[in-house]
């Protein structure tokens, strides 16, 4: 097995694990961590793609690396936004759950925001 194949498989496994966490775990923080796990898997795939470019005779393909850097910035911003939302939610409601039952109990005056 070449290192590129191994890297690709590890990337796929990370995406799979992350996807499982994102769907199966009810806690928002775990979902955010799972999203980051998926992101790491994707970045690893980009790294393998860059290596493949190198194998085809190029010194190294810099484009996927530039994309990974952009992707990391975006994933960081997304995580920061998500964690911030979880914190605000915890401050406002005293709990940070996304299950519908928890919100069904709240009184709703029907007015909503305008």
């Amino acid at each position: 097995m070449t290192s590129a194949t191994l890297g690709g498989l590890v990337g796929a496994a990370l995406v799979g694990l992350g996807l499982y966490g994102l769907i199966a775990k009810p806690q928002p923080l775990r979902k955010i961590l799972a999203f980051n796990l998926m992101g790491s898997g994707v970045f690893l795939v980009f790294g393998i793609v860059a290596r493949k470019g190198a194998a085809a005779g190029l010194q190294a393909d810099p484009v996927p690396q530039a994309m990974v850097i952009t992707g990391i910035v975006v994933a960081f911003a997304a995580s920061a936004l998500a964690v911030n939302l979880v914190l605000r939610l915890f401050e406002a409601a005293g709990q940070a759950t996304l299950s519908r039952d928890a919100w069904a109990k709240l009184p709703d005056d029907g007015a909503g925001p305008v």
């Binding site: 995406v15 992350g18 996807l19 994102l22 928002p28 979902k31 955010i32 999203f35 998926m38 992101g39 898997g41 994707v42 795939v45 980009f46 393998i48 793609v49 493949k52 470019g53 085809a56 393909d61 484009v63 996927p64 994309m67 952009t70 992707g71 975006v74 911003a77 997304a78 936004l81 998500a82 939302l85 979880v86 605000r88 939610l89 406002a92 409601a93 996304l98 919100w103 709240l106 005056d109 029907g110 007015a111 909503g112 925001p113 305008v114």
Partner: protein, 500 residues
Amino acid sequence: MRVDSSAIAATAGGGLLALPILLPVVGVLLSFLIGGRRAEWIALVLMPVELAVAVAIACLVWRSGEPLVYTLAGYTPPLGIALRADGFSAVMLVTAGLIAPAAALFARASFASPRGTEKRAPLVFWTLLQGIQAALSVIFLGADLFNLYVGLELLTFAAVPLVCLDGRPETLAAALRYLLFALFGSVFYLLGVALLYGAYGTLDIALLAPLIRPQPAVWLAAALMTAGLLAKTALFPLHLWLPSAHANAPAAASAVLSGLVVKGSFFLVVRLWFDVLASLPGVVPGTILAALGSAAILFGSVLALRQERLKMLIAYSTVAQIGYLFLMFPLSRGPWAADAFSGGVMQASSHAFAKAAMFLSAGLIAESLGHDRIAELGGAARAMPATFLALGLGGLSLMGLPPSGGFVAKWLLMKASIACGQWVWAVVMAAGGLLAGGYLYRVLAPAVSGESPLLQKRPARSRESVALALALVAVLLAFAPPGFFAFLQIGRPAAGLALQ
């Protein structure tokens, strides 16, 4: 991998394509810099300029009959990044250019900054509204799949906080759920981009399209990117985040979220299947998309019928109307491809105007009555006729009754589906129209009869006219001349989805 880049050269007037992205970004930066109370004015001054630019781009595309292309800093792809505007981009740019300022005019009453103080919610609203415009421009004009990913993320980051501006716990939960769905979607999209780059070594749409071959990596990339985009578009069964997010946002934000933001990711599904993957056999994926769309139409409409609150009803009708957008995919081959494509685009544009008008009207109703419970709307149309007129005219498009843009869209799609022998979509569309009639009747029939209730506050004339103007545009789209449909075909590859 060697790619021929001679296909992409900047066209005359292409430099204009930078402005729809540049102007709102400058607006966002200025809002932070000199900020506070002036954010509102920065947005209100820039938006008409952006609309003028969008119209100018549409005119240039119309006059030349060719897509406009601009290569950033003169570097041609694959090294550089191109911006490209075809007929579809131009129509969506103008649609966004009209709806954003309408929402802004409507929002002035809710998000005014009191003298001498700087409040957080108005600053965030005005900044993010411009952020959404910038992101939509990137999406409508982007010609590079990774650049489009960045636009998609910008759009999400600008849209999510608009849901929870008032900071109530249920809106925060709705925003968080929206963000998690969107992040799932973006990772899938990005993984698909990585696979395509790995297979062909370029991400420029014009360079990539001729290289695409039906091979496992491409099918996997297509499935991942489509699934990711569907999560952001809220197509059934990935719609779970939409109703609570759109119904809980402030009215002006709901109008932008439901009218424009979901169309951004839909636009990319069209780009993907009609431009990038045009050479793949498209029957099976097209049928899957349309089957999901049909499920969305029926499921969303039935749930809309059962809602107790007006804004929730309108949000569920968005779930249904998004379904119609995906009926264009299995029809887009053979001689009816142009009709199906026009129908899809018309649906995207007319739903944007109609839904924005309806959310703004619903906002006025909730504000004037102090609630938006459908059971207690009796007689309300007598107290505020203009608001309900806007709601009803928007409803015409949802039902697909003439004269309305929604009628033209559904007529074109229905004609194409019958001509292609795919009757089932026509039946679904007819059922969807009846169900839409049902849920609108539930709102409008009691509202026009009975004693008019006591209003807590009369809706402002100016805000009623904004909603009414948007609804009228949705109606006027019914009178689009044949030239409009020829315009939509500018930049289309001749065949659309290839024959199996």
